[in-house]
Subunit: 424 residues, 2 copies
């Protein structure tokens, strides 16, 4: 007969958590056993668990290198077939390790888990998640392990990969599709910091960051979680906990804005961009549109854009792009300018973007001035500026990046603020 | 306008060849490039080509070792998920290498290629091949690369592996399902030999062997092609060409019987078996049935069986099994005997099986006597004998195996017979 106690078991489903483990947390057999124990503890704590895994250690890079030795222009379809072997290995080994601990587990590829994407090999976008098979396994009491970074294009039935940060995106998207209570990103750092701790030893681990601020931080070079995953979490209201896979301390929660807003949350930096300057462009309508239209057509994402005041009917336009795209960007600019009376195109890869981020900035208009003054006092020249309501970014010389991050962190987030923060 | 010449192109389909490359032929980037060139030559020679690949070099063993480090009783489902990553890597790399040569190619997993199996993880049997996707790709002019050794169980949608020799089985089954004109097994040996060339330097490469003889050779320890693949080829009448992947010389054709039959085709040996002897079994009805029933129930395949003449109401039963199954076999025998008044169970792993094989044996009744005499003249003791219409096998001590093979080869296939055979 059903007692009220047993009824409760059937009417209230167990909380569901999606945990994502990165490649460095799964790099060898011992680390996999360690992750398995962690998963088993969570399961025994009463949660249903879906685990998303990356490929072990450097597997993806190793496979890419092998492909490059064989082909100088590898087909996207075959590269995706190749790279998806990586998560296949880590997820099967993790399933074995969890079963070894006495807990039933089963692994699913992206395709088996119903992760449907568009057809863009190497950078596919998730279109839909059909979670039936995952739910069926969860209902049977299994821990379900899903390959991160991969999906399937339902048209061609070809396997696809999601590109950089793809496993995080898989985890957050699964959490949304399955109605998970939380999503944990377990990684080799302790959480999100107010600046890169390698540059700023006094950088502070943040207990909580809003989606909005995290989005700006991700776009400004904080690489702990990519913007696409944060945006997904924000859209579906999934609380994300970024924490260490090596110990049990709390990390950083990324969630809806809290009532009280700090003025400055952190200082981010990014040295992966390059600057293109087009000199002496005739100041006539449509030139900028043509230039950035051409860049978009060749899939070059542009970050910052600055156009100088026109002098004598000519002007300079500067923009930044990822260093990886610099050749395509230069070619596009040269193509557009070839018909015009312009002076030429300059490229500078020796730049850094320094950003101050904080939701409280909205109500503190003096922050930008303070930032520029701090840089000036350190004799750091500002080459470009761009702002959002909660971020100010400056392009400076890459050689001065570390100095600038330290100076801004010292000024806006002085050690005094850290008194309430317990040392780990 | 269609000329008679162009019409011919459309009305007469191109010949189709299925080529299978083993792991040692795909062990690194250079070898993969080498295989790609070979495939491209075949394609440019006017054949449609389906390529079946094994995993690169020792990949499968490496993955198994990793799994064993993590789990002492690995789940079959997860082992299959893990191991199938091996062919995924080799097939994607081979597709890249073929495309690098300017020929379009696409790789398919066992599941994508429609290879449906039963649910026996680790030793699945192919039930059906739905070749639509392969045919569609062939019609588009692509070289199609299919992962060997793997399939999918359509009930559970779980990935399965076919066990030892699985990639050869994939190739022959695909050749049958697609109506291929021939199946080539490209490997690290030059073909099928009249004896192991490591033991018998004068062993002769066979130009042609019938399915029937090849079946007996495979069952007797010639490991170039497993019995299951030969049986499949025989059933569907697929001519199989076993040849080297490293050079272009002809190897051995396995096909329907030819008119003229040699008396002896070859001498095979197998040291992978062990002998179990049950002493003093009461000579009452049903004991043997119970013993071999018990063995079958525990999935122990028995090869040879000998029962001695009964003396004083008791008898001895000896049988051979794979060394891998020796513990299970001993346990099963002991379980059956525990209720009976038997004297005990002996195990001998130090045995070899020597077999003489040849379709012409049927019409030459003296062969067995000649074989026993040759062994006797070399003072080699025969422990067990078993025969088929085209094979005679003797169990001897493993220490005498090399000697026995050489003596039998010298006697039944003397060097004189080799005069017509051109040296490579």
């Amino acid at each position: 007969m059903l007692s009220p106690e047993s009824l409760k078991l059937y009417t209230r489903p167990m909380p569901l958590v999606v945990q994502k483990y990165g490649g460095s947390s799964l790099a060898d057999a011992d680390l996999i056993a360690n992750v398995a124990q962690r998963v088993v503890e969570t399961r025994k704590g009463g949660d249903d668990v879906v685990v998303v895994v990356s490929a072990m250690g450097n597997t993806t890079d190793d496979l890419m290198q092998m492909a490059r030795r064989i082909s100088d222009q590898p087909s996207g379809r075959e590269m995706d077939m190749l790279l998806t072997a990586g998560e296949r290995i880590s997820m099967a080994l993790l399933a074995l390790a969890i079963r070894q601990e006495g807990v039933e587990a089963a692994s699913l590829t992206g395709s088996q888990a119903g992760i449907l994407t568009d057809a863009t090999h190497g950078e596919a976008k998730i279109r839909e998640i059909r979670g039936d098979r995952i739910r069926e396994y969860l209902d049977k009491g299994l821990v379900v392990i899903v390959a991160g970074f991969q999906g399937v294009d339902p048209e061609s039935k070809d396997v696809t990969t999601l590109g950089r940060g793809g496993s995080d995106a898989t985890a957050v998207a699964l959490a949304a599709a399955l109605g998970a209570d939380r999503c944990e990103i377990l990684t080799d750092v302790d959480g999100v910091y107010s600046a890169d701790p390698r540059l700023v030893p006094l950088a502070r681990k943040l207990d909580e960051v809003s989606y909005e601020v995290m989005l700006e931080m991700a776009a400004s070079g904080a690489d702990v979680l990519m913007a696409r995953s944060v945006e997904f979490a924000r859209r579906f209201g999934i609380p994300v906990h970024v924490r260490s896979s090596f110990h049990d301390s709390a990390g950083t929660w990324i969630k809806e804005e809290t009532m009280e807003q700090t003025v400055i949350t952190g200082v981010a930096h990014d040295t992966s961009e390059a600057k293109v300057t087009v000199h002496g462009v005739p100041d006539q309508p449509g030139v900028a549109a043509k230039l950035f239209g051409e860049l978009a057509e060749h899939e070059v994402d542009v970050d910052m854009i600055v156009q100088n005041v026109s002098t004598a009917g000519h002007t300079d336009i500067s923009f930044t792009v990822s260093e990886l795209n610099i050749d395509r960007a230069r070619e596009a600019a040269e193509r557009v300018l070839s018909g015009l009376d312009a002076q030429g195109v300059d490229v500078d890869t020796n730049i850094a973007k320094i950003s101050l981020i904080g939701a409280g900035m909205r109500s503190h208009p003096g922050v930008a001035a303070d930032m520029f003054r701090q840089l000036a006092e350190n004799q750091i020249n500002i080459e470009m500026i761009s702002t959002s309501p909660i971020r100010i970014s400056c392009i400076i010389s890459a050689d001065r990046c570390d100095e600038a991050v330290k100076a801004l962190h010292d000024y806006f987030l002085p050690p005094d603020d850290l008194v309430t923060e317990a040392a780990p």
